[in-house]
C-alpha cells in the first residue's frame, strides 16, 4: 500500500482522437473475447460461430451488400442519437420514432396513392420524417415548458407507440384475410429503387450516407451545431452566452426524431415493404451504441453502423449453421458498449508518480 501512495490518479485535460479510436478498437476485441466465452458456456463452438458470423457479414460481395442494407437504419438511428447526445440531450426514443416514421409514411402512401411515383415518394419521405420529428418535438416541448425529463418522455413514447401500432395492425391497416398482423405489401412502383441489381441494396443506403454528411456539416459549420455542442459541454454557460437553450433543445429533439422517422420510412419502403410489429428489432437502441462507438461523430457513425449491420446480418447465418441463437447479437451489442464506456473512461485518466506529496 505504501508503494501506491506515491501515485496519484489524475484526469487528463485532453485525450487525442487517436487514443480514443484505439480504445474503441481494444474494447471491440475485449467484447468479442467475452462473446466467445458466452458462446462456449452455452455449449457452442466459438470458432465456428465467429467464422460463420463474419462470413455471413463480410464474406463475399452479396454478404457485404446485404450488410449495407442492414446497416442503413442503424446509421440513421445512430445519427439520431449522436446529434442529441452531443448536446447532452438524451433521446432514448429512436425506436418509437422509427415506428412513428413508418406509420406516418405508410399513412401518406395510403392517402396520396394516386399521385405519380416521384412526388408520392417525396410526400412519403416528408411524412415519415415529420412523424418521427413530432415525437421528438413532443419530448422537447415537455422538457422546455413542463420540465419533464426527456429520458422519461422518450422511453414512455416507445411503449405507447408500440401499443398504438399493435392497435392499428389488429384493425384498420391489417391485411385483409391474413392471419398475420401486418399491412398489405407495398406495390412495386412505390418501393425505393434498387441500386445494385440482383441485391436488396437500395436508395435508402445512399440517403443514409447523405444524412450523415448533412449532420456532420450541421454540427460543425452551422450556428445550431455550435449551440448543440455548447449545450453539451456546459448548459449553464450556454444560457449566459445568450443561447436560447429551450429552443435549441426543442430543435435538436425534432431533428433527432425526424432522422429516426426517416429510418422507419426507409426500412418500410426500401427493405421490408410492409409494417409489422418487428419492422425494427431494436434498431433504435442499437443506434445509441453505434453513435457512441462512432464517438458521436456523424462520419464515424457510417463504419460503426456498417459493423453492427454486419453483426446482425451475419448472426442469421450463424444461427442456421451453428445453432448459436442470433439473439447473441443483442448481448454482444451491450457488452461492446460497456467495454467501450469503460475503456474511454480509463484513457481519460493517467497514473502519475508524485514523489513530493503535497
Amino acid at each position: 500500500m505504501n508503494l501506491l501512495k506515491n501515485y496519484r490518479i489524475e484526469k487528463r485535460d485532453h485525450v487525442s482522437p487517436l487514443v480514443l479510436a484505439l480504445s474503441a478498437l481494444v474494447s471491440l476485441v475485449a467484447a468479442l473475447m467475452v462473446t466467445a466465452l458466452l458462446v462456449t458456456i452455452s455449449g457452442g463452438d466459438w470458432k465456428e460461430a465467429f467464422s460463420s458470423l463474419f462470413g455471413g457479414a463480410f464474406g463475399d460481395k452479396d454478404a457485404i451488400l446485404e450488410t449495407l442494407v442492414k446497416s442503413t437504419p442503424l446509421i440513421l438511428t445512430g445519427l439520431a442519437a449522436a446529434i442529441a447526445f452531443r448536446g447532452k440531450i438524451w433521446n432514448i426514443g429512436a425506436e418509437g420514432q422509427l415506428f412513428a416514421g413508418a406509420i406516418g409514411s405508410y399513412w401518406a402512401f395510403v392517402t396520396f396513392e394516386s399521385l405519380p411515383t416521384v412526388p408520392l415518394l417525396i410526400i412519403v419521405f416528408i411524412a415519415g420524417c415529420a412523424a418521427g420529428g413530432a415525437l421528438g418535438l413532443l419530448a422537447g416541448v415537455l422538457k422546455a415548458y413542463f420540465h419533464v425529463d426527456e429520458i422519461i418522455t422518450t422511453v414512455m413514447t416507445n411503449y405507447i407507440v408500440a401499443y398504438m401500432l399493435a392497435l392499428i395492425l389488429s384493425g384498420p391497416w391489417k391485411e385483409a384475410g391474413s392471419v398475420y398482423r401486418h399491412t398489405p405489401a407495398l406495390p412495386d412502383f412505390v418501393k425505393l429503387p434498387i441500386i445494385v441489381p440482383g441485391t436488396r441494396l437500395n436508395l435508402g443506403f445512399i440517403l443514409a450516407l447523405l444524412a450523415a454528411g448533412l449532420f456532420y456539416y450541421l454540427l460543425k459549420k452551422t450556428p445550431l451545431g455550435y449551440e448543440i455542442r455548447a449545450l453539451g459541454s456546459n448548459p449553464m454557460a450556454s444560457r449566459f452566452k445568450g443561447i436560447a437553450v429551450s429552443r435549441t433543445m426543442i430543435t435538436t429533439l425534432f431533428i433527432s426524431g425526424a432522422v429516426a422517422g426517416m429510418a422507419g420510412m426507409i426500412e418500410l419502403f426500401g427493405s421490408q415493404y410492409r409494417i409489422r410489429m418487428d419492422l425494427s428489432t431494436g434498431y433504435g437502441f442499437t443506434g445509441i451504441i453505434v453513435a457512441l462507438l462512432g464517438g458521436l461523430n456523424p462520419l464515424a457513425i457510417i463504419p460503426a453502423g456498417i459493423f453492427f449491420g454486419g453483426l446482425i446480418n451475419g448472426s442469421v447465418r450463424m444461427q442456421i449453421f451453428t445453432k448459436v441463437p442470433a439473439a447473441l447479437m443483442s448481448a454482444v451489442q451491450a457488452i461492446i458498449l460497456l467495454f467501450l464506456l469503460a475503456s474511454q473512461a480509463i484513457v481519460r485518466y493517467r497514473i502519475r508518480r508524485v514523489d513530493d506529496v503535497d
Binding site: I152, M156, I335, L338
Partner: protein, 316 residues
Amino acid sequence: MLTDFLQTAIVISVLASTVRIATPLLLAALGELVTEKAGILNLGVEGTMLMGAFVSFLVANQTGSQWMGLLGAIVAGGVISLIMAFMSSTLKVDQVVTGLSINLLGSGVSLFWYRSAFPDFNLVAAELPTISVMEIIKIPLLSEIPFLGPILFSHRLLTYLAFLAVPAVWFFLYHTKYGLQIRGLGENPRAIDMKGLNVTRLQYLAAIFGGMMAALGGSFLTLGSTIRFFPEISAGRGWLAIVIVIAGNWRPARILIATLLFAFLDAFQLQVQGFGVQIPYQILLAMPYILAILVMMGGRLRSVAPRHLGIPYQRE
C-alpha cells in the same frame, strides 16, 4: 342485492389486484430510492428487473425450487448492479449512458440465455418451459376480516415483503447511522469523504441493494405471476419504478402512494378488459406510460431530489 354483492366483489378484486401488481414496482422503486439517495442515478432498473425475472425463472425451472429461484434473482441483481457501481462510482462514467447499457445488457443476455437454455422448445405455447407459481399465504385471522382480508392479507411472500420494506427503508434511511451516511452521499459527498468514510464503498453497497431489490421485483413477474417466461417480460416496469421515485419525491411513504396509483390503473384496466368494454385493449395497456408522462408534468416535483444525484464524486 345481487348487484350489491357483485359490486363489492369487483371492488375487492380490483383492490387486491392493485396490491399484487404494486409488488414488483414497489420493490424496484424502494431499491432505486436508496441508490439515488447515495447519489447514483441508476437508469438500469429495467434491465436489472428483466434479469431478475429471467434468472429466477431459469433457476426455478432447472432446480424445481422457488427459493433457489429467488436466490438466483438476488445474485443476478447484485452482479448487474456491481457493474453499474463500478462504472459510475469507480470509473465515473456518465451514469445515464451506463444505465442504458445495463438495460441493453439485461435485455440481450436474458434473450440469448433463454434461447440457448431452451433450444428445443419451439413456438407452440403448450411446449414452452414452465415453473410453478408461488403459493398464496393467507395470514391467519387477518385474512378472515371481511373486505380487508382478501385485499391485504391473501398474497404471496414477495408482496408482504415489498410492503414491509416501505417502513424498513424509511427507518433505515432516516433513523440509522448508515442511512444518514447514504443520504449524505447524495447531498454532500465531500462531507462524507472528509469524515473519513469510504464514498466508493458506500455507493457500491447502495447500488447493490438497489439492484437486488429490482431483481426481486423482477422475480415476482415470473415466480409470483406466471408459469412462463417471455422476452421483455418486464415491459417498462423498471422505468415506471424510476418515475415513481421522482413522483414520490424521494420519500418512502409517497413512493408507496405513487406505486399504488400506477398499480390501481393497471388493475382497473385488467377489470375493464375482463368486462369486454368497447375500448381497444391496446389503449388500456398504454395508459400507465401515458400516466407516467402526465405525472411528470404535474409541476416541479424535483424539489427534494438528492443534490448530487447523477454527478460522479471527484476528489479535488
